[in-house]
């Protein structure tokens, strides 16, 4: 029964997200399933809190069901209004072709089997073992326990260390706890599955099936990604949203398809609903601004996308501010942002420059620890792209380097405020994890694989 309810909760989120993917114009079923859990869980968790804020509903089972129904209703309404019937939806639920049993022992099937074994293991481990991870107990899972008990979050003001990160993963835990299910960790397997499926589907747009599968397997077996598929931290969710979102926006840069912009912006926006401290979302804003001002196409849609990105980014901050005002928490209200602190503090030029070498070495050591296994192959891929003047891939490389620079700058700013800056190696490595899917995409989409590109030339 526990297994059934666990699967039901997450399947509801997945189903809602699948409808959202259809509404956004994703026709490929694997791709739609790949991003379904991300969209569904993101939208439902946002509504879950919005219902609390606007209508005073408790953060409980009723609110969860209402949020699910709201997303479902809006999606069905849009589909019906757009197409006058639900035929496309029914078609979308059908399998496009029967699963062929021919050539069972093929290279592709071997890769699929390995991926299934790895995913199943992640699911079993997350289903059978409880949450024991330090940061999760201190914050993410603890918040879910408070929500389950009180149906709200205001107690967090008194408890302290409660509102530092947006509540996405805590809400995912609560969705299980409010129905009396302890197995909240299963959500991370769904996110892991989404990352792999989404990555596969996006790579498959440009590559042969076996290349895309090999890419997904390389990503699945990356040590950092694999380890995070069985721990209840928010880094896996964050990297899934931000990396897939940026790849969608990269596709939009190349092909100008509306659906890629919409899904990309939504995923990047939702990444700020998982972790708001990293400014990686700004890369998406830069990409959109550059494209709409340079090509003067999809201008209105671009501006609307930017607005929705900004709204999702601001949502958590606005809600916590509302709570601080409501409970008159002056300390929290007077807390300055990093930018304000940076402008207020007078750093001498010598102090600013002094850290440069140390920070760079420290950054290099830790970031390299994350991408070290991929580095030699990535290096050859980039060289091949440069040699072949593969502008498409080089654009993604610029996004990759943008992230790289942002992580370095973040470490540098941190070093200006905290003497303990060189004790955050683990955090720095986790923050650098979005580089992994982008590196894998660059490796498996480089000029040496890209037959279409060669044929075109």
């Amino acid at each position: 029964m526990t297994l059934l309810i666990t699967i039901l909760i997450h399947t509801c989120l997945l189903g809602n997200g699948y409808l959202m993917a259809l509404v956004l114009g994703i026709k490929n079923k694997i791709e739609a399933v790949g991003i379904a859990y991300l969209l569904g869980s993101g939208a439902v968790s946002l509504l879950f809190l919005l219902n609390r804020w606007l209508f005073g509903l408790a953060l409980d089972g009723g609110n969860f069901v209402l949020s699910l129904v709201m997303v479902l209703a809006v999606c069905l309404l849009i589909i019906h209004r757009r197409e006058g019937s639900f035929n496309s939806l029914i078609d979308g639920l059908k399998l496009s072709r029967p699963v062929s049993l021919e050539k069972i022992v093929s290279f592709e099937n071997l890769l699929v089997t390995m991926l299934l074994i790895i995913f199943s293991y992640s699911f079993l481990q997350n289903y059978f073992l409880p949450i024991t991870d330090w940061d999760s107990l201190a914050l993410y899972d603890f918040r879910a326990k408070v929500i389950e008990r009180t149906g709200e979050m205001s107690e967090g003001i008194e408890l302290g260390y409660f509102f530092q990160y947006p509540p996405y993963t805590s809400f995912l835990h609560s969705f299980s706890y409010i129905f009396g299910i302890e197995r909240a960790k299963v959500a991370y397997s769904f996110i892991y599955g989404s990352l792999l499926m989404g990555f596969y589907a996006l790579l498959k747009r440009r590559q042969k099936k076996w290349v895309a599968l090999l890419g997904a397997l390389t990503l699945a077996t990356d040590i950092s990604i694999f380890e995070h598929s069985i721990i209840a931290y928010n880094n896996l969710a964050y990297l899934t949203f931000i990396a897939l979102g940026l790849i969608y926006l990269w596709f939009w840069l190349l092909d100008s398809q509306k659906k890629d912009l919409l899904v990309g912006v939504l995923l990047v926006g939702l990444s700020t609903w998982v972790r708001a401290s990293e400014p990686f979302w700004a890369l998406a804003a830069v990409i959109i601004l550059l494209k709409i001002f340079r090509e003067r196409k999809q201008f209105r849609l671009g501006i609307l996308s930017l607005l929705s990105l900004w709204l999702i980014y601001k949502f958590w901050g606005a809600y916590t501010k509302h709570l601080y005002v409501l409970y008159n928490d002056q300390v929290a209200l007077e807390k300055k942002s990093v930018v304000e602190k940076l402008l207020a503090r007078q750093h001498s030029v010598a102090a600013v420059i002094g850290n440069f070498k140390q920070v760079t070495l420290y950054f290099w050591e830790n970031v390299l620890a994350v991408i070290r296994p991929l580095a030699p192959v990535l290096g050859l891929s980039v060289l091949a792209d440069l040699y072949e003047k593969n502008k498409n891939n080089l654009l993604l490389l610029i996004v990759f380097l943008g992230l790289f620079v942002m992580i370095w700058a973040g470490t540098y700013v941190f070093s200006l405020f905290y003497d303990t800056w060189d004790l955050i190696g683990g955090s720095l490595q986790r923050v650098s994890m979005p580089l992994i899917p982008l590196a894998c995409f660059l490796i498996f989409n480089n000029s040496m694989w890209n037959k279409k590109l060669i044929e075109k030339r």
């Binding site: 293991y121 091949a384 072949e388 694989w449």
Partner: protein
């Protein structure tokens, strides 16, 4: 002169095959050696061993089709045998063959047929079957993925060659280097992931008999490791009301776990915590104080570190870490010297 010429031409003609054999044997033999000699250091020469195997896989795909066709059945047979042995090894570890006496069915069998039971035990030790049981998942993963690589190397080789022949500008050697490094990367990651899966499946299986909520202890290394945190805190929860205010140690060695208020709150919520005030005195609002010997650190010390007079104490409740037996001490003061390696709490007398 003639022999030298024949040998040279033979080596030249079969250089890829010889090279493949050398790499394959170097890889498999060094893995066997590591398994035999350094069983607890599976990462020894791992990068080199994986490089041997990856290079051998790449070379094998380029060997004559006829040769590979002849070998296919043999490779298949070895692969199936290895998978079978691996499953046997996994099962032997899952049921923990060294402690079969824990199973009632085994005990019944040995009571009814002691001779057969003894013969099986003797054979197990005589044939040194324990050597097989203790073979690591790294060893099996290495061989299995190497054989799978050989089976599909033709396909991978063909697919790669098919793509690579279209490259007009990037040099072929460069492309082959990329291909080799990629196989190396995937092979390395697969070995790590599948070995980890094997090991963890065994530990997950070991916890299944325990109710879900109690698995925390086993998952975190057991009662004599970090897992004690959950059991100890459950004891606190079971003996205190939800509005209890608990005095916990400062977050310093050896109390890094129970002394961290943001960590400990997960275990005892909705109970609240306080720590010693700036005068190193017990805050008046504290209802109980943990008696802890330090879960995390090695330099053990009893908390509270101060003596508490009898008139301030309503009771001292202790839990035996091994048996979980609970003892209540009334009418006694607290002196840390008397509570070395003890766990429990002091309930303060409220005035």
């Amino acid at each position: 002169m003639n022999i030298q010429k024949t040998v040279t031409s033979f080596l030249k003609k079969h250089r890829n095959f010889i090279f493949f054999l050398v790499l394959a044997f170097a890889g498999v033999l060094s893995t066997l050696y590591v398994e035999y000699r350094f069983q607890y250091e599976q990462f020894r020469w791992l990068a080199t061993r994986i490089f041997f195997a990856s290079f051998a896989i790449v070379l094998y795909g380029g060997l004559p089709k006829k040769f590979r066709k002849e070998q296919r059945r043999k490779v298949n047979f070895i692969l199936i045998s290895f998978v079978f042995l691996y499953v046997l090894n996994l099962l032997a570890n899952l049921i923990n063959v060294y402690h079969l006496d824990e199973y009632q069915a085994v005990r019944d069998f040995c009571t009814s047929s002691p001779k057969t039971c003894q013969t099986i035990v003797n054979t197990f030790f005589k044939l040194k079957l324990y050597r097989f049981v203790s073979l690591t998942s790294y060893f099996f993963s290495y061989v299995i993925f190497f054989l799978i690589g050989l089976l599909f190397s033709e396909e991978i080789y063909k697919k790669a060659a098919d793509l690579l022949k279209n490259l007009p500008r990037v040099k072929l050697e460069y492309a082959w280097l990329f291909y080799l490094l990629l196989i190396y990367l995937v092979f390395q990651q697969l070995i790590f992931v599948f070995s980890t899966i094997s090991k963890r499946v065994i530990s997950v299986f070991g916890t299944l008999d325990t109710p879900y909520e109690q698995r925390w202890e086993a998952t975190m290394g057991g009662r004599y490791s970090f897992g004690w945190m959950w059991t100890y805190m459950e004891f606190i929860n079971n003996h205190t009301a939800e509005n209890t205010i608990i005095l916990i140690p400062d977050q310093a060695a050896p109390w890094e776990m129970e002394g961290n208020p943001f960590y400990t709150r997960w275990f005892i919520y909705p109970r609240r915590m306080v720590q010693l005030d700036e005068n190193r005195e017990i805050p008046t609002e504290a209802d109980i104080a943990l008696i802890t010997y330090g879960i995390f650190g090695h330099n053990k010390e009893v908390f509270p570190t101060i003596t508490i007079p009898e008139e301030n104490i309503a009771e001292i409740v202790l839990i035996d870490r091994s048996t979980l037996e609970v003892t209540t001490i009334m009418d006694a003061g607290f002196d840390p010297e008397d509570y070395q390696d003890d766990w429990g709490f002091i309930r303060f007398r409220k005035k």
